[in-house]
Symmetry: C2
Subunit: 199 residues, 2 copies
DNA sequence: GTCTATACATGGATAGAC
DNA sequence: GTCTATCCATGTATAGAC
């Protein structure tokens, strides 16, 4: 193991917060998961909110850089769409709670929450936007607003994880079938999008 | 007003549960919103869980029939995609909390929750699937699994509401701009999808 | 640092008067 | 039906021994 108490707490908190959300998570759950008691949680992190902030910062801080790296790279627009879908879906398959966690907390937390956590760490779409405009001017793709394209890409990649229970209920697919579908979507989604925008 | 106490409670509960979710909602919040006290909530509905179930049943029971009506209608596949996006996005603009509410609770509630509430009320995709296969056979659209097509449609319609806070943070758009974008997406989404699948 | 015990507040639920 | 008062369990947080 060789894991410090602080690390154990952070790992346990990440698991519990991601499964149950800030409102549904109990400090007792986290203590149990970490194999310690509640008092020790407050010793390391003063309050539930502080602990939650730590987890949210860590989680969002891991995801965004990887996506930025792709979005800002020098590859062609189509390759970029392809790489983004691959990377995004792969991350979510590894951690299926992530999309709901991010979506739920960004919607529920109050006021300046996003500013506090992501203030400097927003996705940098400038380069992507530039490429889109270039390709439009060159006549290789139909006119489209870069932000709309980005929204569509992320919608197709992320939503299936959010709608998974409903989808499974509707179609009777089990977890293996779902994962197989998402594996296929790593290439189906970019193909679909490129078909939609190319001239 | 002319609203019975039970109706006031249901309206208040719907508002509070949709904003805060089952875990985050407080009976006190609902009582305040309804202008009554907690005891009366328990008089009408025995427990928080029963009240929640009532709301979830009502909400999901209103949405699905409207969507089924479109999905099972006799119009052409392309018209159907068009009508579905129009109707779905319109519903969500009216009630922006709905997507998160459904997604959150279907993910968080335990075990047979979906069976209990939607057991008989699932979306009926048979007709849509038939049409897709016909068009594929006819050579008018590229081969695509009907369920995948449906998943893509609903992803593009629903996700923007879920990712709204992140999107606004990233792009600096305000609520009016967001609503204008969704208004435009009522036609942009079906156009995009049809472009992607048509031969 | 880690534990047990406990304080203090909140939330769901009930009792009983009106 | 509707209210006030209250019970009881749970949840966050702290005190203090080791």
């Amino acid at each position: 193991m060789q894991q410090s108490t602080e690390e154990k707490i952070l790992a346990a908190a990440a698991k519990v917060f991601m499964e149950k959300g800030m409102a549904g998570a109990r400090m007792q759950d986290i203590a149990d998961e970490a194999g310690i008691n509640k008092a020790l949680l407050h010793y390391y992190f003063r309050s539930k909110e502080k602990l939650f902030d730590e987890i949210f910062k860590e989680v969002s801080g891991q995801l965004l850089p990887r996506l930025n790296q792709i979005i800002e790279s020098d590859i062609s627009l189509f390759d970029k769409i392809w790489a983004f879908c691959q990377e995004y879906i792969s991350r979510m398959v590894e951690n299926p709670y992530l999309p709901l966690f991010i979506v739920e907390e960004t919607n529920k937390q109050q006021g300046a929450f996003l500013e506090r956590h992501l203030g400097n760490k927003r996705l940098r779409l400038d380069k992507l936007a530039q490429q889109v405009q270039q390709e439009v001017a060159r006549g290789t793709i139909k006119p489209i607003h870069p932000l709309e394209l980005f929204l569509t890409i992320i919608s197709m990649c992320a939503f299936p994880f959010l709608g998974k229970p409903l989808l499974q209920h509707m179609s009777g697919m089990n977890d293996d079938m779902f994962n197989a579908m998402m594996e296929a979507r790593k290439s189906e989604v970019p193909k679909f999008i490129i078909n939609a925008i190319k001239k």
